[in-house]
Amino acid sequence: MSRSGRPLTHWQHRLAERGVDRQLWLLVPALVFVIALFLYPFFYGLTLSFQPTTGGPFSDYARFFSDSYERGTIGITLRIALPAALLNVLAAVPIAYRMRGRFRGKRLVTTLLVVPITLGTVLTAQGLLNFLGPTGWFNRVLLATNLVDEPVRLTHNYWGVFLSLVITGFPFAFLLVLSYLSGIDPTLERAAATLGADWRHRFTRITLPLLMPGLATTFCLTFVLAFSVFPSAVLVGNPAGETRVISLAAYQAAYEQYDYPYASAIAMIMGFVELVVIAVVLAARSRFYTGSTGGKG
């Protein structure tokens, strides 16, 4: 009994007040996964990166930034990943905008747009080589119609990797944008119409501002996907030159030079660059309205 004479609240009630109950056990599998498959490897890599084979704790980081061939991979990867992510988001907006309502065949169109997710990078690369290669259909059509005199080089260079990232990244962007768009109450645009806004104003004044936070998130996700590009950089790119992306540098350090600490350092730098980009985008995102948009999404 407490001083006031009332019985003490049962400990289970007090825990429940703080959100502690038996349902928390459901989190265990997820926690195990996060700890075993993310936190442990991450901190293992982080500590490893400060234990270079020679020199002080930061010498592998210094080594990366002092070598222009290595340092340049950051720029190369950004030059591929930023435009690819941007194009994916920008291309997804009009298509998702057109498809947010209900219409016959919507499921079929959505399936077609999303199929590239299931293909995987290797199959996409194979297809790109066959279609866009020097003797592929694309060039044969261009040559046959006399639009060009010699095959356009679209594989084994920047454009090959870029196109591969667009093909695999677009479905993600499209699905995300579509769900963000269907979260915006369609009555808002109808209201804007009755107030005298034509479709351009309805889009720029109402839909787009409400969609911007979603677009920022979508951009971040597709950017991260694109920034860690690896297979297509080798298969349809020029891995020794213009598409020597940062993950390739880490791979070479780890499995060609067997220098795990250096590879870990590169991986940490890679993660840091991604974080910087995401931080910039999210900072811009916070300038927009991010509350409820009234829809059912």
Partner: protein, 371 residues
Amino acid sequence: MSAFSQLRLDGVSRRFGGQAALTELDLTIGAGEFIALLGPSGCGKSTALNCLAGLLPLTAGSIWQDERRIDTLPPERRGFGMVFQSYALFPHLTVRANIAFGLRMRRLPKEETRRRTDEAVRLVRLEDHVDKLPGQLSGGQQQRVAIARAVVFEPSLVLMDEPLSNLDAKLRLEMRTEIRRLHQSLGLTTVYVTHDQEEALSLADRLVVLREGRVQQIGSPRELHTRPANWHVADFMGYRNLWRGRVERRDGARATVESSGHRLLGEVVGDVQAEAEAVLAVRPEDIRVDGPGEAHNALSATVEVVEYQGRELAAEARTDTGLLLHLRTERRIAPGDQVRLGVDPQRLLVYPADAAAAQTNRVPQASGATR
């Protein structure tokens, strides 16, 4: 926006797939009029409003603003203000920006936009909330923003789609008065959709009752209240007591109806023939309890359920022949009491029975009836 002297809907129809939502609506709206479209859900009233706003294309018919055909114009070129049931306020814009939206779309000079927005804000008494986002406002305040936004650009017509249905009872009454006050002070032509007959009666100059996409009756609140054109309208206008009977005799405007042993005298509405099936309709408040010696329409009944409603009691009583009647009375009655009920023949309306009357249990036979 250009005002008009009249707006004419000419056979306006709308189908969804094979389903007719609105069939040949003919209606002429005069400038400054307050029209209520009234009916149960699914009667086509919102369809009619959306057709008028330009948010739904017509499947047949035309809409004319004086001599100009407007049903082919997109909503943004009609210049009608609309208040949505969900308010549809722009969640990312402040109250001020929401209200000013229509003015900005019209590219009015900054000065004028500001002045007229301020005026509208004052009109709906939201001076203290202009810089808030809609999400920070209460339901009633959001409703006021929606109304201000729809009237600020002085539209030639204001459309309201069940604007009060999301408010609680007290606020609904307040806003109802507010809307009436706005209409009187601004003189804006208004078309108001509602399923609440009380709301429609109190606000509108003229009511249009719809059922299954068709106009049932167009008239003043008084006409609708005292003389619904058919038993469906009566049902909707608060004639809670509906039951069937057979016409024995018709004398001009009066008819004697036999209904399971009772002979009732009522006022004929529509085409009622002797020997034909009829539907009787009476309002709960028109049934008298234990009145002074009734000459006509006396029924003895047992009180079954009593609800306290302040000055009055609402009660259900079953007659000796099994007919359940809803009534309102100031007399203190209790369940189990034997009462004598009476109805003034003027207040007992006799309608011809249609096919629907035989099918629905809304209109029971008097004997053994459950409702």
